[in-house]
Subunit: 154 residues, 10 copies
């Protein structure tokens, strides 16, 4: 059942480990199987953690990535490993979220991409970061990410 | 439409202000209008704030108070003012929650009382405190307080 | 399709109006069609309003009534009209809720009855009243009333 | 893939129609495949309608049926057709709900059965009926039916 | 009560089985009964499963299909059987979702069609695919599909 | 308290019955009390049932109707009776939904009207139909109908 | 802490009572403190009741009012009293909702105003009314009112 | 980081495939790491499908399994493969659910086990099956499974 | 792991206290790490309290702040302390919300900023204030704030 | 505002870092301020991550800890740091959850303690672990933890 298109992938189906740093992580891509179409792909990534560059303590986020592929689509196992490589990476919420979006843009050169970073509260105040690259193809269907607003208690 | 029973209340319908400290706040009570019955009264108090005794920063909580009245019921405006008197009071979550329950018990001597304190997160971890005084009358109807669990993000 | 049992009802299917005061309102009852069984009947009444005896301003409540019928069941249209008769009635939340439960108990003499009164907030604090009459028949199925807890905002 | 046990069923997999009246409807049963066990089966039936015996207008209900089978289990297609046979049947909410429970008890003689009838509002007040037959086997697992409480608007 | 328009359908009301492969499955269509109108039809299909082409393990998805019919509408039983024919079909999430949308477009030539594929998580990350064909008629009413975002736990 | 405008209504406040067939049902209308304004009226109709023209079995739907009145508004009791007249009417989901919208358009000639038909699942797949007549007045406020998406189980 | 701007208000902080009829009720206004800005103010009013002009029975609604202030903003206590003055007022849902919006427009001459009236069900069908006055300033931020759709039961 | 205890497992971390039939599937177990404690383990399995023995069409279910381990705990990858082996298995909802519970009991001999099978609707009616084996250790903490009740539409 | 950019911050990581009055509070800013991009940052602030200028009683609000940074981003700890400085500040809901937005605009000169103030109910009616400064960059991604509407009870 | 009781705490209010391994982490405790009472304290900890001992990949969990204090209560900052020390710790879900509960029991010797570990899905199946130590004091108030069940998609 395998497919020519995937024969060059190194990580999918193999026992890959995450890189130590995002800069060393490899993101893999495969040919977009529907290159004629303007469509959208969404990844929801609730398992993300990095390090606060000031306090050295762990931060957590729920990330959602949307993109309209051009020639390439992201191979999802390499995406998982890429995100894991932030485990010891120190960066502020804004910088960390934008860095992930930029890296994906560089690797797969989509028609358009956006990333929502929904960070866990610090000092009672959660920060969300909403970054976007390129212009969405005219008429692209882009549903809301629908991550619930933070309510505190009660 | 007023009622003999309430004629001695000082705060209800008047322009009362909260005391500066909980110790100075006056809680008023009125005769329980249904002294034959074992029933339960619930107050939901989402507007509560006090001070962290270590950092001096404000804390916030959603409080829910349940009790089975004996001779007295709490006059709710005085309850509001009592809770407001914690605005500059420094105490840990556990101590603050229990202190409120104890004061109510002392003032209105209910058959039974409980208080749920649902505190806003600090360090990413919210604390809930569930205190109880006396034994609930046999067969008393005690619905869950139903305050949603803390979910973080996602 | 009508039924002997209902032929004496005055209000059902007729153009009845609510009484001016609860004391004047008539509650009708019909024979319990399942007198062998211990079962429970629930009325949810989100359209209730009365008057605050101190301020003269309207109060609102969502009421839920549960009971296990003995010989009689409540005719629901007369219940609706009975509840409407509180429109100009002044009473505190606790007294008003218990008065309704007591009246139903007097009229239909159920094996057991309870009423949950979920009042709209005053001074930022809503009051719920949970009253109960008699002992529930052993093994009676009594689901939670499931009215959401008050959350304030956020 | 068929099974001896089902070879006598008339309705399952056939083009059966509902009876005109509940009294004429046939309920089919099959051997309980797990007669050693005390377990519970739940049917959720959100598509139920009957007739108000006083006004002649249609009533609607969401029904949930729970039972602990003894020798027999209910064949679900015949249950569907049985419930459809109430389409022109006139009965009050309480009587209609209890009649369905009683019929099931008569047909399949379960160890225990209960039915929750969650009726659509009339006069602004929905009625729920909670009937039960027999005593649940000791330790039987009986989850709440979890039908949301009626909220009115807002 | 049957209707000329449906007399040529082979699957509806018959004992049809799903094809072994999507390529062999037949989709049936009937005349659009409202050809003058620009309106939208939605199918929600929470029972979908296919095979991962790399690991050979089952994948699951919740699909929602929206379209504006031109001359034809999809016969829903044949849609069900078409979707069932993917049970042993190996394809990635993106390709599988787009293939279903394309096939429907080929068969019923709608004015416009879109499909949302909401796949169950793999490696902790669910993928959603949002494909679209044609341009929606001006002013067409297109409600959100409203499938909840993936939240992980908590 | 009655009003000239309503004096010619036959059904409101009277003991009207539903017609046997939609074609025979009478829809009543009253003068739009705010003819200067472009505003929207919504009816939510969760109590709707008709007959499947192929299988003869009952279908159920939740309908929501939105319109911007011109000279007339729909009298709601006659709407209720009109919808009841589908109880023995056989039609497919698409045709039935559009027929109701068309009839309302013919009777009250609104500036614009739409109807959402949210049908209960058949074969595991619910169908929703979204029909619309006319062009909404520029700037009309049209909130989403907000009927939850079908989720299957889990 | 008081403020020049409010010194002429009669009702705020005083023991005001509602008028007997909406026509007699006084709405107070204060200077808009941010006259340079195009912003929106929302009032949610879940405690509203009036009278059905045909049956004389009470109606209930949840109202939400949104407006973009020009020179004036509504003083909220006078709004509360104005809404209370409908307690004995007979009017249909459509007329009553639009009358409230019109009165506010007349009194505070906002740049734009809208009112959503979400009425409790009658005859199983709730009516919502969505009225609007003026044109919203370009780019004004107008969040959905987010009142849940009526679901019946189940 | 591996652990002696897991060295004999064949499936975990390997490229295992599901068996063709449940009878051929192997379930693996590992030593319970906390044998002194009475605790509960829950698996939620929303990806389950089998075959209807009468119609040959696929069925879907959401399963939740709770147990109190004695000497063994279930290895979760082998559980996943075991559940996959039902993909071509024909059985009724009741029988299929109980068969899974029984097999787990046979393999890991827990102190107590229960399984909730929440099946997708057929004929508009979903069936839930709640089976249980053994007696829960005194005081065991057993949270509700919390799977939402089926609501139909609206 | 610290970063040149943050070396001049006084409050972050230090034992800072809130100012006594908003006018005295210092807001700190850091260089926007992604100045090429048009992106949005959101702060959710459920822990806000100020004083009613007429009654002297505490008010509570849930605030959500969205902005598109130009050269600067807000340092979040200084934001927390700034909001705390309103603890003894008297202002009406409208004025208080707009004042916070204006101050942020003055300090960080964003491309665009908005603030939603969701205030707890007074007199049974909560007020929401939606203020906005500047024009959002073309194509900026601005998700709804998603704060639930106020429902009262039931 | 500080308090004698806390003067010996090393971590609270200081710049503490998490230990490298759970075995090295120090948990601090303070005197229970309400030693006469049987009450419950709950910590919700949605920011937890450890390592899978077989695959070496990160695992995530939402933890909720409930206990009835005897002489000591847990200092919450040290709890946060203790949980962070699992960041590089390899253990299965069951073992990891029980290890945390046991450590807390050893350190603060509560009257009773329980921990719910709600792990993110692996292989499409999330595992929950519910451990408990000691016997809850008679009549202790123990609300459900209320963590939503895992729903997959749809
Ligand atoms: Ca925090
Ligand atoms: Ca809150
Ligand atoms: Ca925190
Ligand atoms: Ca989470
Ligand atoms: Ca209030
Ligand atoms: Ca009604
Ligand atoms: Ca996964
Ligand atoms: Ca179905
Ligand atoms: Ca599902
Ligand atoms: Ca109704
Ligand atoms: Ca429904
Ligand atoms: Ca079905
Ligand atoms: Ca209020
Ligand atoms: Ca209030
Ligand atoms: Ca309400
Ligand atoms: Ca998984």
């Amino acid at each position: 059942m395998t497919d020519e298109r995937y024969s060059k992938l190194d990580m999918l189906g193999a026992d890959a480990r995450a890189a130590d740093r995002p800069e060393e992580a490899r993101l893999e891509r495969v040919e977009n199987p529907s290159q004629d179409a303007d469509y959208m792909i969404r990844f929801a990534c609730p398992e993300f953690t990095s390090i606060c560059p000031v306090t050295g303590q762990p931060d957590f986020a729920h990330l959602v990535i949307d993109y309209a592929p051009a020639q390439w689509i992201v191979e999802s196992k390499s995406l998982k490993l890429y995100l894991q490589s932030f485990r010891n990476h120190g960066a502020f919420h804004e910088a960390c979220t934008m860095m992930i979006g930029q890296r994906l843009v560089d690797e797969i050169q989509p028609k358009w991409l956006r990333i929502g970073g929904y960070w866990y509260p610090r000092g009672g105040i959660p920060i969300d970061v909403f970054g976007q690259w390129g212009e969405a193809p005219k008429g692209l269907w882009i549903p809301d990410q629908g991550v619930p607003s933070y309510r505190g208690r009660g």
